[in-house]
Symmetry: C2
Subunit: 412 residues, 2 copies
């Protein structure tokens, strides 16, 4: 199903020392399905995260933010993360907050720590009460099968409308230190992250000081999960968590070091890979589209134009149809909100084909060339604004019949 | 096809003295189809309009804006409008501008006036050259069948993916003066007007001074065409034109009069009717949705929230499915961009059903009640922000398989 995204191989997902993973089938929404995940952290681990900016942010997001802030401010360290699918615990008011805290308390009792040392996460239907009893009843099983080598199961346990698990793993050398990093993510709808996406988890075995990790998670999110969109719907539950277990030989205390620079590149690359896996498996996706906007006066205006293209239902259906109806892209550029845009200087390319020149149809453009590119499963739209030197890139997918089918049937 | 929108009856569309209408089958994109419309204005008519804010605004829009401004500034009056379907003449650069001006010159020669006294309009595919020779060859036929009683044909002549013509007509009494007004509009995709929509034309037989008409067209557009969205795509060709032929007994010289107040209400009502006809016939629409946001601190923030709901593909597919998956509405409210929104005070209703109370599920809400409302073909979503006394309403439709089908096949 997913666009050029091979299924991850369990054996390729390297354990990260200092983080054990367990799962359960708690029957939260449907039976016989992994729907609870526990990630237990060892001594010395640091955790940083970014969360959705949606004002209806879910109860577990609120609790995770608070608990993470308390730990980062010198409180007891985070000991575990707990994630359920099948219910988002969002739009659930005060009782939803109580349920999220009760989940933490139940897991804390099993692990022998405080409830505030647990970070809870949920994904699924909004506006329905969390089936707390089922979730709590599933925790002992998840704790019972905790092990280092469980990343593939973890990727499966957080799936909702995803057609396949999303995971990636690397061992990189940073200034002579081998660093292992493994991450998982999920989509596949309500995807237009603003700060992070529901759900991404990335663990590295380096020792990274809390302020450095905070900077690193924001940088990685801004260059990965914050550059993707499927349907423009910023979820209530988006969360991207970066965990440094501190078990390896690399230790980073500040952001000025060469080590940090190299680690940042490696972590960002892995985060981008996880983010792109979400797009490749976007609901109903048949094409993977890269939208790059160059020569803008600010990154912000480049992002505006890129998202305007990436969100246009008319552009997305044209990609689905493999129809080079490329005027729709110009239309989306025109209403992107760059009020002083001089379109008479604008150029647009589809892969290597120069379609729009100085705001009009390139006289050398042939429909057959546009048609050739549109047949491909991976396509790059490049827009040149002729206003400066800023750039931005956004990754998205097409809008197909299957998107409508999936979202018209979601709860049934 | 269209949602609760009966076909206009030709005999109900009252002629407006001072405006004659002719049409032709010019074969611009397909044969045997009305695709050119000419509206000829008599002496003493005034014209005002609002146009798309899309930066890629089409060549005819640029020419119409310039010619209208020249007439309003005391130049020779506007004598005719010419409209073609089958090609938008947008994204066509300098040659597109030359084609729009050449169209005006050709019609001016037939009518015995200056090219600057003509307003050109186009709708159809973007980024393709206007078939100027075909258009010009069709003009004599259109001029040859000019007559007062031709509004139904006019409504048919401007259709593109519309499944039925859109028109409405009223005779209203304004301070003792009978005023006749008739209008036409078209949709049915690339609809999220910003200042006006492609294409709306409304004629009244009152005599209205130019500054008054300018005010009136903006007011009417802001409360009608500027409150609708189908797919969030602001077209390159949106135009809403208001024509006062001056043939009736009502004459309005300034905006302070009682007459103006009454006329404004009547014109705005008719414009809203035309705008709503576009939504009822939105591409693939099966439901007509009214989104009202009350108790905001500003109209602008109410509109932001309303459009966020109206544009969410997840909300729109839930309506298509008649599935009360109403958490998706909360999600869209949450990312609407009202950064200091306190969701713990927010209420939301679906018709008469109180779904969300103080930011969570109303304890009295029953799924069966939501299900009952979702089955209807006309549904109102009402959000109460608890921040002030401002309100805004937006009209939209659902997102169905047919929307994808129509837009994946548009050019074939």
């Amino acid at each position: 199903m997913a666009v050029n995204s091979p299924l991850p191989v369990a054996a390729d997902l390297k354990p990260v020392n200092g983080i054990e993973i367990g799962f359960a089938e708690a029957g939260i929404k449907k039976p016989n399905r992994k729907d609870v995940l526990v990630m237990k952290l060892g001594e010395g681990a640091t955790v940083a995260g970014v969360f959705t900016k949606n004002r209806f942010c879910a109860a577990p997001v609120q609790v995770s933010e608070a608990n993470l802030a308390a730990a980062a401010a010198g409180g007891k360290p985070i000991r575990a993360l707990v994630i359920n699918t099948g219910n988002a615990n969002a739009g659930t008011g005060a009782s939803g907050l109580a349920d999220a805290n009760a989940t933490c308390a139940a897991l804390a009792q099993l692990l022998g720590c405080d409830a505030q040392q647990i970070l809870p996460f949920s994904t699924g239907v909004i506006l329905e009460p969390l089936p707390l009893a089922k979730l709590v009843a599933g925790l002992p099983a998840a704790v019972g099968n905790l092990k280092l080598d469980n990343w593939f199961n973890a990727a499966e346990a957080i799936m909702t409308t995803d057609t396949q698990p999303k995971a990636a793993s690397r061992t990189v050398a940073v200034c002579g230190h081998a660093v292992t990093m493994t991450g998982i993510s999920k989509g596949a709808g309500m995807i237009r992250p603003n700060m992070a996406t529901m759900l991404g988890y990335l663990a590295i075995d380096a020792k990274v000081a809390q302020p450095v990790l905070d900077e690193l998670v924001r940088h990685a999110a801004d260059h990965s999960f914050n550059c993707i969109t499927i349907d423009g719907d910023t979820s209530t539950n988006d969360s991207f968590m970066l965990i440094a277990t501190g078990t390896g030989s690399l230790a980073i205390a500040n952001t000025d070091s060469t080590e940090y620079g190299e680690l940042k590149i490696a972590v960002t690359e892995l985060a981008r890979n996880l983010a792109q896996q979400i797009i490749r498996d976007g609901e109903g996706a048949t094409k993977f589209i890269t939208v790059t906007v160059d020569d803008g006066s600010t990154v912000d205006e480049c992002r505006k134009v890129a998202y305007s293209i990436a969100h246009s239902p008319l552009v997305k259906t044209a990609f689905f149809a493999s129809d080079p109806n490329l005027g729709r892209i110009l239309c989306a550029i025109g209403y992107a909100g760059v009020d002083d845009l001089d379109v008479s200087k604008l150029d647009m390319y589809l892969d290597d084909v120069w379609v729009c020149k100085n705001g009009g149809r390139n006289p050398d453009y042939q429909e057959a060339d546009g048609q050739r590119v549109m047949q491909k499963s991976e396509i790059t739209v490049r827009v040149k604004l002729a206003r400066g030197s800023a750039s931005a890139t956004v990754w998205t997918c097409d809008l197909s019949h299957d998107y409508v089918t999936i979202n018209a049937d979601y709860r049934s």
